[in-house]
C-alpha cells in the first residue's frame, strides 16, 4: 500500500485527507465509524471566542444540487472547547485543527492565543465572519480587511496558520496574496457559498438566509467550490487545502491543481466513511500507478498522472488545459445554481 503521509508545514499528516470543519463535530462523533488515524487531521466545529447558540428555525434545506445550511456558527466557545472537547479530539490519533472565527480582530487574536496555549496543531482562521467594525462586511471579502486580521493573528499565533478563504472574495488571487503577505502559512479553499431560501407563507420569517454548502458532482453547489479552489490554487500552487468533493478522483484533481491536502466536507453526511474511503481511493490510484511515495508537501503542481511520481522534472507552474476546462465548466455551474435559485425565489 502506498505511503500517503504528507509533510505539511513542518508536521507529519498521516494522509492527505482532512475532515472539514462543521461536518465532523470535534472528531469523536465519527470514532466508532471509521479509523480516524488514517486522516491527515480533523478540523473541528468552527469556534468563536465566547460561543454562539446558533440560528433558530430549520437549519437544513436540500436543493437538487446540494445542501443549504443555516447553523449560525453554533459553538460552545474557545474555553469550553479547550476544557471539554480538545482532550477527546487529541485521542482521535490525528492532528487537531482548530477552526476559529470572530466578529472583531480582538476576538480573533484572543481566541488564537488561547488555542495556541492549549496546544492545537493548526489554526484554521475562518475569515467569513461579519466584521462588526465594517458594518457586518465579512473579513474575507476585501483583501485589505483580510490582511489586517491575518497580520494581527499572525503576531500571536505560535502554530501553523491556515486561512480559510471565502468564495465571496472580490478577487481570490488578490486575497491569496494579501493573506500570504500578512503571514498566513497556507490557505484553505474555500468556505460555503451564500444562498437564500424562500420561506414565503411560512411564519415567522419570510426569507431565511442560508449558507449554501457543497455537494455532489454533476450538481452545482459542489462544483463551484471545486472550481474556485482550482483558481486560487493556480496562483498559489505551493500551499493550500482544497475542499468539497466526493471521491478520490475529485481529491486527485485538487492535488494536481496544487493542493497539499484536501478537506472532505458535506460528503461526510452522504457517506459517514467518506474520509477513509477517499483516502483508500487515493491509495489505490497510487498503487495502480506504482507510486511508492506520496507527493511532496507542495503538491503535484498540475502534472499529469503519468508524470506525477517523477521527481526529476521541475514542477509545473501552470495548470494543464484540462484543469482550466474543469474550472470553466464548474464556474458555469455557478450560473446554473443561481438560475435555479432565481426560479425558486418569489419576492
Amino acid at each position: 500500500m502506498a505511503d500517503l503521509h504528507v509533510d505539511f508545514l513542518g508536521k507529519r499528516l498521516a494522509g492527505p485527507v482532512i475532515a472539514a470543519s462543521g461536518t465532523f463535530g470535534f472528531g469523536p462523533e465519527y470514532a466508532g465509524i471509521e479509523d480516524l488515524r488514517v486522516l491527515g487531521g480533523i478540523s473541528g466545529k468552527g469556534l468563536t471566542l465566547n460561543g454562539q447558540p446558533g440560528n433558530e428555525g430549520e437549519r437544513l434545506y436540500e436543493t437538487p444540487s446540494g445542501l443549504m445550511n443555516s447553523i449560525g456558527l453554533q459553538n460552545p466557545g474557545v474555553q469550553h472547547f479547550i476544557d471539554h472537547e480538545l482532550p477527546a479530539m487529541r485521542r482521535c490519533g490525528t492532528t487537531v485543527w482548530a477552526n476559529l472565527g470572530g466578529h472583531t480582530i480582538e476576538e480573533n487574536v484572543e481566541g488564537v492565543q488561547m488555542l495556541c496555549a492549549a496546544g492545537v496543531d493548526f489554526i484554521e482562521l475562518n475569515i467569513s465572519c461579519p466584521n462588526v467594525k465594517q458594518g457586518g462586511l465579512a473579513f474575507g471579502i476585501r483583501a485589505a480587511d483580510a490582511g489586517e486580521v491575518v497580520s494581527a493573528v499572525r503576531k500571536v499565533c505560535t502554530v501553523p496558520l491556515i486561512v480559510k478563504l471565502s468564495p465571496q472574495a472580490e478577487s481570490i488571487p488578490e486575497m491569496c496574496k494579501a493573506v500570504e503577505a500578512a503571514g498566513a502559512d497556507a490557505i484553505s479553499l474555500c468556505e460555503h457559498l451564500p444562498g437564500v431560501r424562500d420561506r414565503s407563507g411560512k411564519a415567522p420569517s419570510r426569507v431565511q438566509q442560508h449558507v449554501c454548502g457543497p455537494v455532489r458532482p454533476g450538481g452545482a453547489s459542489h462544483r463551484p467550490a471545486h472550481g474556485l479552489a482550482g483558481r486560487g490554487g493556480r496562483q498559489h500552487p505551493r500551499r493550500g487545502t482544497g475542499r468539497h468533493f466526493l471521491n478520490g478522483k475529485d481529491a486527485l484533481e485538487f492535488i494536481m491543481a496544487g493542493a497539499a491536502a484536501v478537506q472532505v466536507g458535506t460528503a461526510n453526511f452522504l457517506d459517514p466513511k467518506a474520509c477513509t474511503r477517499i483516502t483508500n481511493e487515493i491509495a489505490q490510484w497510487m498503487d495502480a500507478t506504482a507510486s511508492r511515495r506520496w507527493m511532496r508537501s507542495e503538491g503535484a503542481h498540475g502534472k499529469s498522472p503519468a508524470a506525477f511520481p517523477s521527481k526529476t522534472t521541475p514542477p509545473y507552474r501552470y495548470l494543464p488545459y484540462c484543469i482550466y476546462k474543469i474550472c470553466y465548466y464548474k464556474l458555469n455551474n455557478i450560473q446554473e445554481e443561481r438560475l435555479w435559485h432565481a426560479k425558486h425565489l418569489k419576492f
Partner: protein
C-alpha cells in the same frame, strides 16, 4: 411502509427510541441526505430490524421501491432512546402516547417495557384509521384509540382519552402539537413525561448541528442528545 433489514452487529443492538440513518441510493444521487427512521421492531434472535415509515418525499419513495434482497446503507443505532430498564425500575404505571407515524418507535418500546415487567397502557391518535395496532396487542395492557375523523375509536384528540393522574410516567412520540399537549397535561398533574422528537438531520451523529433544538437546558442535538428528552425541558 414496512422495511425489514438484517442487522448483524450484535455488539450494537438497537433499543427502543433509537433510529438509523437509511440510504438506499448512491452517495452522488438525490436526495443528498440519508433519512433518519426510527426502529419499529428488533428481534435479537434473528437480527431482523424493522422500520415503519410514511412514504412522503423522494427519500421514502426510494426506500419504498426496494425489493427483497436489495441492499441499503444503514448507519446506527443513533440517539439515546428510552432507558426501559431504568424506567421499569422506577415507575410501575406507564402510559405510552403516540400519534400517526409517531407510533412506529413505540412498538419496540412497549415490547421492552413488557419484557422488563410493566405492561403499559397505549394511547394512539390517527387522522382517519389506525394502523399496525395488532402488533401492540400482546405487549400492552389496554389500547385506546382516537381519530380526527371519528371513523375509528374516539372522535377527537388522543389527549381527550388520557388521564395522566393515573400514571407514574408518560412516554410520547408523535406530532409536535400532540406532544406539546401531552407535556402540558403532565406538567399540570406533576407527572414526568419523556418525549421523542423529530427534526431534519444531516449526519445523525451530533456532528452537523442541523437538528439543534433550543431548550431550557441550552441547545441540544436531537440526533445525539435525543431524540428522547424530558418533555418539561423542551416544551414551555
Amino acid at each position: 411502509m414496512r422495511l425489514t433489514v438484517q442487522w448483524q452487529d450484535r455488539s450494537r443492538e438497537p433499543h427502543a427510541g433509537q433510529f438509523y440513518m437509511l440510504r438506499a441510493w448512491a452517495a452522488d444521487a438525490t436526495p443528498n441526505l440519508s433519512r433518519p427512521i426510527s426502529v419499529d421492531d428488533f428481534d435479537n434472535q434473528t437480527g431482523a430490524l424493522t422500520f415503519l415509515y410514511q412514504v412522503k418525499g423522494e427519500g421514502t419513495h426510494k426506500l419504498a421501491a426496494l425489493k427483497k434482497d436489495d441492499t441499503l446503507t444503514v448507519t446506527g443505532p443513533c440517539g439515546n432512546g428510552f432507558d426501559t430498564a431504568a424506567l421499569v425500575g422506577q415507575y410501575k404505571r406507564i402510559a405510552v402516547v403516540g400519534g400517526g407515524i409517531g407510533t412506529a418507535p413505540l412498538l419496540l418500546l412497549c415490547k421492552e417495557l413488557c419484557r422488563a415487567g410493566v405492561r403499559p397502557d397505549l394511547f394512539v391518535g390517527f387522522r382517519d384509521t389506525t394502523y399496525g395496532m395488532d402488533c401492540f396487542v400482546p405487549w400492552c395492557r389496554d389500547i385506546y384509540a382516537a381519530t380526527d375523523s371519528g371513523k375509528e375509536g374516539h372522535h377527537g384528540l388522543v389527549t381527550d382519552l388520557l388521564d395522566v393522574s393515573k400514571y407514574d410516567i408518560v412516554l410520547t412520540c408523535g406530532p409536535m402539537v400532540m406532544m406539546r399537549g401531552v407535556a402540558k397535561l403532565c406538567a399540570a398533574a406533576g407527572v414526568p413525561c419523556l418525549a421523542s422528537l423529530e427534526k431534519k438531520m444531516a449526519c445523525g451523529l451530533g456532528a452537523c448541528l442541523g437538528c439543534t433544538c433550543h431548550t431550557k437546558i441550552g441547545p441540544v442535538t436531537v440526533c445525539k442528545d435525543g431524540p428522547v428528552f424530558n418533555a418539561q425541558e423542551v416544551f414551555d
